[in-house]
């Protein structure tokens, strides 16, 4: 087994997990359509108590709980790619690494609060609404690590000045565009209505669409890289040599 094979295993994890995420995402009643922040506490409680919703809320969130951390091995593959770029220091890979645990952890926290809200739906509606709020604000608003990762990767690519750069320049432009697309969602708590609210065009559709697009594009780009490197036998010490 060649050294690069390990990376390929990790790589193929992502599309497999990605499918589970998409499924969970589509199945969660709170996303289709996205719940409105203007729902009163009673309405939110009724939503969680509704027997049509409750099981699906729980199952979809359990699936997220299992697999949301699966993003991390994929992101580490990108760290390894950054290490192969023509940089003088490893700082950009460290910066990327430093961001990649935060996002999934916060997704986890959001997941936790949705599950809590669903655990005892007969609870005081004000509490259910509170958990729901915390979950939504965390899920939507915590884009900082994703934005930073996109920016660091773009910087890394721009600074990868060699005849055969690890990633093509358009990947950098793409990452910056994604960072911009994610930015408005950080302000999710500012309003309860409008495009920035958690059910709004920018915070829900653009944000989640951007993440999905990023995952799809980076999967293709990374996959191409890994196979190309494997063919060329050019994979140096696999894993974190720096």
């Amino acid at each position: 087994m060649k050294k690069g094979d390990g990376e390929l295993f990790l790589f193929w994890l992502l599309p497999a997990l990605g499918l589970t995420w998409i499924l969970a995402f589509l199945v969660f009643p709170g996303f289709a359509p996205p719940m409105s922040p203007t729902m009163s506490a009673e309405e939110v409680a009724a939503f969680y108590r509704d027997p049509n919703n409750l099981p699906w809320i729980r199952y979809s969130m359990i699936v997220f709980n299992w697999f949301s951390i699966g993003m991390i091995p994929f992101l580490t593959l990108i760290v390894v790619q950054i290490r192969r770029m023509a940089h003088r220091t490893p700082v950009l890979s460290y910066a990327y690494l430093g961001c990649l645990t935060g996002g999934p952890t916060l997704l986890f926290v959001a997941n936790l609060f949705w599950l809590l809200a669903a655990f005892r739906p007969e609870r005081d509606p004000a509490l259910t609404q509170l958990f729901n709020d915390i979950a939504w604000v965390t899920f939507t608003g915590q884009v900082g690590f994703l934005v930073a990762d996109c920016v660091f990767l773009a910087l890394a690519i721009y600074l990868d000045r060699q005849p055969h750069p690890v990633f093509e320049t358009w990947v950098a432009h793409f990452n910056l565009a994604i960072a911009v697309a994610l930015a408005p969602a950080a302000f999710v708590a500012v309003t309860l209505t409008g495009p920035i609210a958690w059910d709004g065009f920018l915070s829900f559709w653009v944000r989640n669409g951007a993440i999905a697009l990023w995952l799809a594009v980076m999967t293709i780009v990374l996959g191409r890289n890994l196979y190309r490197e494997r063919r060329a036998g050019a994979i140096p010490e696999a894993g974190f040599a720096g």
């Binding site: 460290y94 509170l130 690590f145 910087l155 309860l192």
Partner: protein
Amino acid sequence: MSAAVADHTRARPSGFLGRIAWHWRHDPKIELWICWWVMVSFYQLFGIVFVLMTRVMPPPRPDWDQARIVQWFSDNHTGLLVGFGIIFLVAGMTASSNAIIGYSMRRMSVSRAFAYSYIAIYSLSAIPGMLFAGILLSVGAMRPDRDPRLLAWLYDAGFLTFVGTMGVFLIGTLVWMIAILIDKNRVFPRWFGYLNICNLLTEFVVAPCWIMKTGAFAWNGSIAFWVDTGVFVVYTTAFIVLLRRMVIREDFGDGPLPDPS
């Protein structure tokens, strides 16, 4: 790379943007400078958001009754929401600080484990250090008509996580301190290694804030907050300056790039 060598000898343009463009194109240390500047910008932004916009530093009193707490949320409604929105957006900037500090440990004669543990520990530091507080206080501010008991809980939880989370910074500082003190390459001066002790101790000093609601040891107290924050500011200023000196001292120039293995 030969193009870079030739450019390096050309005269640098004047003017602010011109100089930045020159550095971007030709400075071999551009990665380090980017990390350093992002770190400095982050701390300044942090100061503006936490002190001026959200008014979370200095913190309001723990011994307020529910009505007063509700009042505080409503008084600071916009500042809290917009300020924390900014923090949510830029949280990842902390990673550049961790990156350059991790790098400083790679320049030392010590094991790589130091750099990796530091980065690992601090990559999550933003969550208890500021993001939880941001989430909880934002959720509090976003619905002014929420049950006052819940607002009081969010208030407590927000400030306690902000002021009182200690372990990350305690162990992280310890790791960096040990690295500095046993380092033979003298990347940092010894006094900074000792200063780490001061920063480490602040994490002990702040512990009573989980118990007290008034006085010097509450989360807004003269000792648990003010003296501790003073030490933190001195410490942060010191390492920002020292890291700058470290980057200036870097001497890898235009030579061949290191082998990525």
